[in-house]
Subunit: 588 residues, 2 copies
């Protein structure tokens, strides 16, 4: 871009370009509006987090009284793990330490418990079916049967009620003894430590405990229902190494998914379809089908393609050794965002003209900015229809919940016999932040980047997010059941990525101005720097509050907790497979 | 570097180069030896830090019982600052909070106190002189006099003893009243908070206290003698802004000092001297002078030049708003290191041939690595003599302390009259880490980078650091008086920079191999990556221990502190200008 070396004559001519001036001013407006909203939103979410951290009233929140300790050093000779942990924390917090729970390897006991629960459910199902058959006319009823071989498809037929009752009687003592073995012998190098005071727990979670930084590492305890027990034992350096390995895998995946997406978007134009698959020509030429194909074919390919990723990313994030489910969701949604922006947005934008411009990039890698500025206008229609598809089909399905409804009625009619089974079939699950947030971020990025050059996308964006506000608010409040509470920790993560989308928008505009040889393009550099400063200030001002619990907040409304409640808090962390009235969850 | 596109024939020929193979292996050896030593040293210093943090015995260390609180929000209506701070911390730490000390603006009171101390000293001096004159024969003595005008040079002559006695009587009540005003009205937005327990103090210094991250920020309290009181009031965002402004100034200074250093090293060769200053030719051609000039002229210029910087950098670091002297020294020595490596080492290395290669760099900025590889061998002699000069002259002066000795004897003979004055003249000061460490780091960098190509520098390096170990150990233990204790926090800082020097060495070797078209140069890339990993592991394993006090260490050997001792701890933080038996240091 030799824009700045233009002669004076050209300069005055260019400076008069009213369209580009309007673009420049629009970019400024968009940016400042985004700053304002982001700032307000951060403040608002901060307040919500503080409320959630302060509130004592809704129910006792056990995670506020506990810390998670990992990387406990080997047990000294002549001690047990339990004693080691207790004496360590009792000496540091002589007055406020309540008790500790050493994490155990629950693999076997979990398996037995699941088996038992399965038998119990099947027994209830069989009994309900038997009762139903009695009501249905036959007074003696039809005793249900099942096959005991592979998947209930082969093997001998047996009476279900008798069989499952026998099985339950068999498994129960096994589970009992396995519980004892687990609690006594399968203790691992991690523990949950409980304190009588919220303030001390909040302060303990933030303090360095051991001189060896890689021993006795502490963090806030995750909520009981979102602890990932199997990850707790992973050691300090292993976590670091795992993290980097996962990053490398994700980076490789991002780089090598560029190729298929480029192919998809280059292949799925009607012209290409006709050229490469000539036998389709007669169908494709029908006007109705042609219109539908032209509009929705590439987008459908894209949506299906994107649906495959989240599971893989969730698996990778879990493998990093993160101790809580909400953190895993956060991490995987972050990775998904990079995928979406790098592969879908940039990949499709540039990929539409990829084959023709590949050589240009190879020769001059710096041309990528101007390339984006050049190719973005060409793909406006594609993304317009993508956004439209998302809110017509996506929100339509979301609001009507037609698929879950059909599935529920089918299940109710043919599968469910007991009350519990009907309830389970009805269960709507949670909001699925992990995939929803990056999807919305993609729409946000698209709308932002096209807003100035193809303003027709703005109403689409407004409709998408406006409807989204109405519909998802309703769904979140009235339909879905949150499966954990992360105290607003998702927000800083979204904030950063919204800001990244804004900066991408500014860079794209800069590239576009460069392509158009607009003399005043450098004004946008100021804006990019401003965005970075804004991000920095927000990070400094708010971020730490989202990582740690401030003592002043933990102090709020805190009274002496009676020992009785402390026991409730302690017990809420006992995994269901280990909890039983007899054993009482107390490691011996 | 098209090294990897060489033909097979060339490859086998090059692979046989025994000299370069030896260089490669030597680089590996140097690197591994450095890793080993750095690791050992980090462990050793960690142990020393732990000992220092644990020890109760030598004396009560007040900083272990205190935290520094900054950015206290505005005083609520109807409260005092003191009450605000007390009630805030008393509610969070009901049992362990001892009391707090609000920082005041001591500018006026400090000035008065200095005035008073000056008069007291002068009075003692005058009395001693009078007594001496009595002993010297005249029984009635000669009453000393002084002029009361500018610097004691003009104005009326008065009797010193009477004059200073009068002045002391005048200033004392002023100081008393100013003390009261300061304590009551000049309270600022910072405070020192004292706890009865070391563990709680250590934990409090690491915890977030306020929901607003930029309010009630806490850190470890610095030692009383190294608190920079005037910096404590600087606000959160102002500190951030100041820091970045200082970084920019330092970066600009580094960039624009390249030019004078380049000139110095290009001008101060004998040939240039003769060419540009032809009238010197007759002197320069004398053999004795020629030798001396050739060897030491450029180095002397360099040493004088470098002596000007530290004060400036210290000033800049202080302006960042850092609360403790040792941290300022650390920050300024870090800046000095960048100066030294970028300007002296790289500047001189490349600058010796700067005028001829300037155009090459401008055309191809990537050539800087191979340029370094090319030009380093040419400057070996320069740095060899630089190292020699440093240990001959530097250590000679250091060990003999001939300059301080002369100054002391001159002072003793002509200026000092009282015992206190003699003591002050004898005071050796502290080790001056801020300039000494970067200087040694420069030698280390030089020796490391030249070690392989010009192994003659190795004995010089060994002598420098060997003598340094002997001499500075003696000086540190027996001569200098440390003016503060930083609990080993200088080490991680040095560690990082030693590692940076090692990586510079590896990069230089890589450049040198590139210049020599050595086919196996990529082996060094592995080594560079290894160095980065080593640095990362060290940082993860040790660094946090040097920032925070682990609770397990703070717990060690801690007993209940009697209130009596707590009062001693509290009092040790009262600045001398505010401490008096009457006022008792208690803000009303």
């Amino acid at each position: 871009m030799n824009t700045f070396r233009e002669s004076g004559a050209q300069f005055t001519e260019l400076a008069r370009s009213p369209r580009l001036w309007a673009f420049l001013i629009a970019t400024y407006w968009v940016s400042f509006a985004t700053y304002y909203l982001l700032w307000k939103a951060y403040k608002h979410v901060s307040g919500l987090r503080a409320d959630a951290l302060m509130s004592h009233d809704v129910r006792l929140k056990p995670e506020q009284f506990a810390i998670l300790v990992r990387d406990i050093p080997p047990i000294p000779a002549g001690q047990t793990r339990q004693k080691q942990v207790d004496s360590y924390f009792e000496s540091i917090y002589p007055k406020t330490f309540y008790r500790s729970m050493v994490v155990t390897d629950n693999k076997v006991v979990n398996k037995l418990w699941k088996e038992l629960e399965g038998y119990k459910k099947k027994l209830a199902h069989a009994e309900a079916a038997y009762a139903q058959s009695k009501r249905a006319g036959k007074p003696e009823g039809a005793r249900p049967t099942n096959r005991i071989g592979f998947l209930g498809l082969i093997g001998n037929k047996v009476d279900s009620i008798e069989y499952y009752t026998k099985k339950i009687k068999e498994v129960t003592p096994k589970l009992e003894s396995e519980r004892k073995v687990t609690l006594r012998e399968k203790q691992q190098n991690a523990a949950l430590v409980f304190f009588k005071s919220r303030v001390i727990a909040a302060s303990a979670a933030q303090s360095l405990h051991s001189q060896m930084v890689d021993k006795w590492t502490v963090t806030n305890a995750p909520e009981p229902r979102q602890v990932i027990w199997t990850n707790l034992k992973i050691k300090f350096y292993q976590r670091q190494v795992r993290q980097y390995v996962v990053y490398v895998i994700v980076a490789l995946t991002i780089v090598f998914f560029m190729i298929p997406i480029g192919f998809i978007s280059a292949l799925t134009t009607l012209e290409n379809l006709k050229k490469y698959l000539p036998f389709l020509e007669s169908i494709v030429n029908l006007d109705a089908i042609k219109t539908v194909l032209e509009a929705y074919l590439p987008q459908l390919a894209l949506i299906i393609f994107l649906a495959l990723l989240p599971k893989f990313l969730h698996f990778l994030s879990k493998a990093e050794g993160i101790p809580s489910e909400s953190h895993v969701v956060r991490a995987s949604s972050g990775k998904y965002f990079y995928f979406i922006v790098l592969d879908v947005f940039i990949g499709v934008s540039v990929g539409g003209t990829l084959f023709s411009t590949l050589k240009t990039i190879e020769k001059d890698p710096n041309s990528i900015v101007s390339l984006l500025g050049n190719s973005l206008p060409l793909n406006a229609t594609f993304f317009l229809t993508y956004v439209a598809l998302r809110f017509f089909v996506g929100y339509g399905l979301e609001l009507s919940r037609i698929v879950p409804l059909i599935i529920f009625h089918l299940k109710k009619k043919y599968l469910c016999k007991t009350e519990a089974e009907v309830k389970e079939a009805w269960l709507p699950g949670d909001l699925k932040y992990g995939t929803r947030a990056p999807g919305d971020m993609l729409i946000f990025t698209i709308v932002l980047c096209y807003s100035v050059m193809a303003p027709i996308i703005i109403p689409f964006g407004i409709v998408y997010f406006g409807l989204g506000w109405l519909i998802l608010r309703n769904q979140a409040l009235n339909v879905y059941v949150p499966s954990y509470e992360s105290y607003g920790r998702m927000w800083p993560h979204l904030h950063t990525r919204i800001l990244a989308a804004l900066i991408l928008h500014q860079v794209t505009m800069f590239g576009y101005f460069g392509v158009k040889k607009f003399y005043y393009a450098p004004f946008l550099i100021t804006l990019i720097i401003l965005s970075l400063i804004f991000g920095f200030v927000c990070h400094k001002k708010f971020y730490r509050f989202f990582c740690d619990t401030p003592l002043e907040v933990a102090l709020h409304d805190s009274k002496e907790i009676p020992n009785n409640n402390m026991e409730v808090i302690f017990k809420s962390y006992i995994p269901p497979s280990l909890s039983s009235e007899k054993i009482d969850g107390v490691p011996v």
